[in-house]
């Protein structure tokens, strides 16, 4: 158990490090700045304590906000994502996902991919709308959501297979 928590903590730190110190300084094609820390929220073990999960999501977003000077945009989008994750899980893994003792990271690739796509779309769409903060720029927000979301998805998949535990529990 302790070994597993150390492993989880190490993975989370690695992802945050990658986000803040590497990916925040990557400008692919001049404007694509991938956001991958969202996978921490998506792969978080299926919650028994939902309040704790919401607070953790809020604080995670706030931490990224301090590094990027985005006010509360990351915090808001993380919070909405965390709140909507049970609905996503219900759509993807079926109504009974809570009974099955679901381990998201060990699940089938197609379902994991679907979860990542939906999660990244929700997060990025809210985030870029809050960044532009102007309804007339909604098309630009949509463009950013898809362009940046695409690369975020690709890098997220790479990172997941990098930190994924080898032993199937």
């Amino acid at each position: 158990m302790t070994k597993k928590s150390i492993y989880t903590a190490f993975s989370i730190l690695l992802i945050l490090f990658l986000q803040v110190f590497v990916l925040d300084h990557v400008y692919f094609l001049g404007f694509i700045n991938p956001i991958i820390y969202v996978i921490i929220l998506l792969l978080y073990p299926v919650e028994h304590n939902r309040a704790l999960y919401l607070i953790a999501a809020f604080l995670l977003g706030l931490l990224i906000d301090t590094f990027q000077d985005t006010g509360g945009a990351h915090a808001t989008s993380c919070l909405v994502l965390a709140f909507s994750r049970p609905f996503l899980l219900r759509i993807i893994y079926g109504e009974s996902y809570k009974m099955k003792n679901l381990k998201i990271i060990q699940s089938n690739f197609d379902r994991l991919l679907l979860l990542l796509i939906l999660g990244i779309l929700i997060h990025h769409f809210i985030f870029f709308n809050l960044i532009y903060f102007n309804m007339s720029h909604i098309l630009m927000a949509v463009k950013d959501t898809f362009a940046i979301g695409g690369l975020s998805l690709l890098i997220s998949l790479l990172v997941i297979y990098l930190v994924k535990p080898k032993v199937v529990r």
């Binding site: 309040a51 985005t70 006010g71 919070l79 532009y132």
Partner: protein
Amino acid sequence: MQQIINFLIKYRNLLLFLFLLVISISLTVQSHDYTRYQFIHSSGNFTGGALSSKQSVADYFNLKQVNQELANENAKLRMLLDGLKADTLRIDTTTVIAQSTYKVIPAKVIKNSFLKKDNYLTLDIGEKNGIEPDMGVITDKGIIGIIDRSNSNYSRVISVLSSDLSINAQIKGSNVIGSLKWDGQDPYYLSLEDVPRLAQVKKGDTIITGKQSTLFPPNIEIGTITKAELIDNGAKYKIDVQLFNDLTDLGYVYVVKNKILPQLKEIDTLGLND
């Protein structure tokens, strides 16, 4: 009463969600105002420290280029000094520095952004080095922004690439002034607005900081005019200015402190009280 408690217990997660949502949205709204009362920012000791240690690693990779740029600037200043030598020979350099209106403090950029609607930079110097809000930030190639907030060791700059900022500027060689703004699109271009219709505007003219600006020294070259069009039924010009500075690639900058700013402000308030 029992029902209220039951309601609270049943919907506690939803209520927590709404509570946190209100906090985060208000932080976001606050960040879109040009105020320095923001709670979430990158110039805190923890964030600043983390960013500055990352930057010190990254610095090794462009030492050569930075050296080259500094040498170029030195050469330019040496030529300038040579031109002034006739006047300065008899004066001690310390007196020249003491008499100048502006104090210039070098700083290193440890964080930069240019893709958002409002962009900020973080510098590795703070109140310990005499940095205060409302000081201008420049490089040898033009203007960068204005100090927005500072703590003891780090300070944050609101970049010229921000929707809220407008800077007094003028066309070199004339007294035509306007305000320089960013439309949020291209980080290499700003637009000069409120230029009257009768002003002489030519493509290729240089834009410099205006004499009315209290934040920046006058006559700093900012960029060149690439396009000018009449707007508002031909009442005034909207001019596209290509910047000399590459705001996407910044290493070292200078913070400029206007030593006579308190006096200037005092005179301004005198006028208002009349």
